[in-house]
Amino acid sequence: MVTYSSGLCDQFSDRTKGVLYSVAGVMALTPDSLLIRECGGVPNQTVLFFRNFIFGTAMLAGLIITEKRNAWSKVMALGKWGLFTGVLFGCSLWFMPVAFQKTAAANVLVIQAANPAFAAIFSWLIMRETLTRSTLATSVVCIVAIALIFVGNMNEGSSSGGDSAVGLLFAVGSSVSFGLYMVMLRWLSVYQT
């Protein structure tokens, strides 16, 4: 939802807030790959469990604080497709750190950045939304860029161990599941409300 306001000052204020939220959010996300690297001495699944457990607990606490007695009914209102959507987000959160541990961070982040292309494909498949020529072209370019990283991986070998190809597959899994998650969020808002 985009909020528009009549006064120039108000509009500027909203825009400033939006940019600040965006930049602060992205800046909070960017150290993720480094922090995962720093946990290299701990088993993958342990890091995954605790980071997601802390994240889930924080979000649940936020829900309870904001919704109070309505929190449980809000969760139940999600239904089976809401649960499926949550599982997709969970898959994305699970695949990405595994990918970070097995291949170069740049490979993972570039492949993750291609998630809008996968979202476009799923949007066409699930919601029958028209793919514009521009979106189709961008999706093809994204897939070519991912293929280039796979080819580079085969030519150069891994910079962080022998599991690099597996890491790239996990990165693709994370990107695909996040793209599908975005489409499911839209599908839920259109068909489940």
Partner: protein, 90 residues
């Protein structure tokens, strides 16, 4: 059923791993995703998506500055092509 041993728990080193894990759970995931979710209420969602591309650029930089691997030439080329395509499309 596999038993959980102390080797499976993040209690290695001087405990700093716990700090990293808490930073991931609270700082990165909870704070990051919350702010990114709020942002589209003030500016259009495609613009927010454009800002998220910063992660693709800055993530490998932090990793490199942290003393780990530098991005490969193929990753740089693929990343440049992909970011340009996404930026132009939006």
């Amino acid at each position: 059923v596999a038993a959980i041993t102390t080797d499976d728990l993040p209690i290695t080193g001087d405990g700093v791993v716990w700090v990293y894990i808490f930073l991931q759970g609270l700082g990165v995931l909870a704070l990051g995703f919350t702010l990114i979710t709020i942002a589209p209420t003030y500016i259009p969602a495609p613009e927010v998506s454009l800002y998220t591309l910063l992660e693709t650029v800055l993530g490998p930089v932090w990793v490199y500055l942290g003393g780990y691997e530098a991005p490969s030439a193929y990753a740089l080329a693929g990343g440049a092509i992909l970011l340009a395509a996404l930026a132009v499309h939006r």
